[in-house]
Subunit: 312 residues, 2 copies
Amino acid sequence: MEKVCFGIDIGGTAVKAGLFNTKGTLLNNWDFTTRKTGNGKDILKDVVDFINGKMKELKIEQDDVLGIGIGIPGPVRDNGDVLELANLGMGYFNIEEEMKSLTSLKVKAGNDANVAALGEYWMGGGKGYRNMVLATLGTGVGGGIVLNGTLLAGSNGAGGEIGHIFVNEEESSTCGCGKRGCLEQYASATGIVRVAKRVLDVTDEYSSMRSYGDLSAKAVFDCAKAGDKLALEAVEKACYYLGVAMAHIAQVIDPEVFVIGGGVSKAGEIITETTKKYYNEHVMPALKNKEFKLATLGNDAGIYGAAKLILA
Amino acid sequence: MEKVCFGIDIGGTAVKAGLFNTKGTLLNNWDFTTRKTGNGKDILKDVVDFINGKMKELKIEQDDVLGIGIGIPGPVRDNGDVLELANLGMGYFNIEEEMKSLTSLKVKAGNDANVAALGEYWMGGGKGYRNMVLATLGTGVGGGIVLNGTLLAGSNGAGGEIGHIFVNEEESSTCGCGKRGCLEQYASATGIVRVAKRVLDVTDEYSSMRSYGDLSAKAVFDCAKAGDKLALEAVEKACYYLGVAMAHIAQVIDPEVFVIGGGVSKAGEIITETTKKYYNEHVMPALKNKEFKLATLGNDAGIYGAAKLILA
């Protein structure tokens, strides 16, 4: 039978699982609820049980499985060490060794945002490039960096933590990380709403955004696309900070392409175009006019990237 | 005979050359004047003639030379392509192929700041670490990044161009690169003097810095170390920007150590300590308290790193 591998994306509420062949074709995918008991190890047992069940059901031999790639929502060292993950109830342990002892299969783990970047690099918006940055604009802002085809994990798994790049000296509110003025405070879904509310608060000017009882990032972009002046101002502000952060990244690693993903990226080219404008204003000439693209794999980026950890 | 290699550092005024054994011991070193004629190729001929002469003089057989590593003051792609280097009168060509055809030896080239980083990583302030950032504070601010023991060149050789990280929205003067608010405008030798003059200009307060006809970065640091209030203010400002830029770098690549080199770093621990303070204020908790060290190889970092390009 053809060789296959599993790509697993462990999230705070659900686990996504994908079965891939070596060409990167997604043969099948599933999801199930994340169990947060047992110091984080119950979820690993669930993953193993699930994989064993699917192997039996689909008549996949152990010898045909090249391995299991896993993305988890926290820092992972290159050797598989997971630091404490409070939101999954996980303590400190080595996820690769733990899973390997349960399955006798090759196991490779990475941070979920980094793994998603590897997925977009392999089969998504970054396909065809060797050096790529993924910015995931969702509830927070995550990121992942691929250099010469390899994930940049960093010395403690915190490489690509671009959501906490400091971009605003004037900020008075505190970010979830404890600092002030992080990119995430402006370019996440909640960040964009925050920026828009600040724009609305300082004026009595008409804006279609005022008709929303519960303003969302999507609403801000919809209003901006319809020409609403204050919504456009909010989008410009959020993309200014995103462009500045990407300029910082480029001065450090000189990538070929920036890929923008996450729920917020559904707004489309208004984000890539506006961000690119401010990016170009803040990099040295040799770094201007990099490619800016939208992610294409959506919520499947994680399982693709997890599989690629094994197929790399 | 023991195997050796040459490390060459081509600068705007002088070429430095070192002969190394495989353990990284500097056996001999020399320098000669940079010739800027012939579209940059005359200097390569000079280097080759010099190496041939030294091989003859020291009775080194061709078979015992593992290769020639070269650092040049401009962007170099991973394949050896050199883009135009106006200050050396160089056009576009492949330096590795050119040198190889002249010597029949293995040749590997890199950007001088990156190569210096590799030198400090190998035998200097970054020895013992796998992930290192070198910030070179000289006439300008250069940088180089080593990740997992390998130089980060970037997609067009502009990786580690940290001197042009944007750090100040309020700046009115233009940097050499054409932008405003680059790190180099505050943390280079001239940048520090500029910061100090701005501090002096807005007050009539006494400062020992006022007694210098031609204020230098060294003088600013000397006055600061002697307790001069305005000099200390200038040092805090310069190191604030350096700390912020290093925070940006850490959020992108999560290194283990920052090494500070270049002429300005002779001021010593006042720089590393002050920079580290502002660094810690601007990174997420997981990235706090990285190591900050002074470079130790001085002007020899380039020849060490060039040799390491061959021995890697």
